[in-house]
């Protein structure tokens, strides 16, 4: 299990490649990557604030829960903070399991928890000013299925 919280960019290809190597009993690897979206071309940047200490604890706890619940052989979580431009990668998760259903579900579970239970807050800066991104009801509702 590897959990990283960092401001620097990460190399998705290299991370996914390294993660997928050497799992002789794991037949399935699933990855998810979150990218800064700019729907109408007005976003200058996004700034992600977090709670150092609690962030790592929360991510590790959810990764451990996912690992137990979906029999994951390995879990990788990388989440960035600080200033990010449109198109930059915010975060990634990777899961390895003997079969694909668990790898997919484990990644979904981790993402659902990470969205609304890990202490990150996004602020969007556009030409019109800055605004905190509001939490979505659907993200909270997504936890209901687990």
């Amino acid at each position: 299990m590897d959990v990283r919280v960092q401001s620097e960019p990460f190399d998705f290809g290299a991370e996914a490649g390294r993660f997928a190597e050497g799992h002789h009993t794991m037949g399935a690897v699933v990855t998810f990557t979150g990218i800064v979206r700019d729907d109408d071309g007005t976003l200058d940047r996004m700034e992600i604030e977090h709670y150092p200490g609690m962030t790592e604890r929360a991510l590790e706890a959810h990764a451990r829960e996912a690992q137990e619940r979906f029999s994951l052989g390995d879990v990788l979580v990388i989440h960035r903070h600080g200033a990010l431009r449109p198109g930059e990668m915010i975060m990634m998760v990777a899961t390895a399991a003997p079969h694909r259903a668990d790898a997919f579900e484990g990644a979904q579970y981790l993402m659902d928890y990470l969205k609304s239970r890990a202490p990150f807050w996004k602020k969007e800066y556009t030409a019109d000013g800055a605004a905190w991104v509001a939490a979505k009801d659907e993200d909270e509702d997504a936890l209901g299925r687990w």
Binding site: H50, R57, S116, A118, P119, F120, K122, W132
Partner: protein, 81 residues
């Protein structure tokens, strides 16, 4: 006790962290004390449904006891991922 504020809660209060001496026994009592201090706190704590609290870095409830707690954090619902 250390109190930490994040995102717009931090912006409304104007501080990221502070140390307070308090007799409050629950989070709700602590919030009442803070609200009475200054309009900035009253503004930040106006709507508790828009707030979350963590005690010693674990998500918690407003009626949770503060016995033995060293670090309280207030913040809006999280928007990671």
């Amino acid at each position: 006790m250390q109190i930490l504020y994040f995102a717009w809660v931090r912006e409304r209060i104007g501080e990221a962290r502070e140390t307070v001496e308090t007799e409050a026994t629950t989070v709700t009592e602590l919030i009442e004390e803070l609200r009475a201090r200054d309009p900035r706190y009253a503004a930040a704590f106006a709507d508790l449904s828009a707030l979350r609290v963590a005690l010693d870095q674990d998500l918690s409830d407003f009626d949770a006891p503060l016995d033995g707690v060293r670090e309280v954090a207030f913040f809006p619902p999280m928007t990671g991922g």
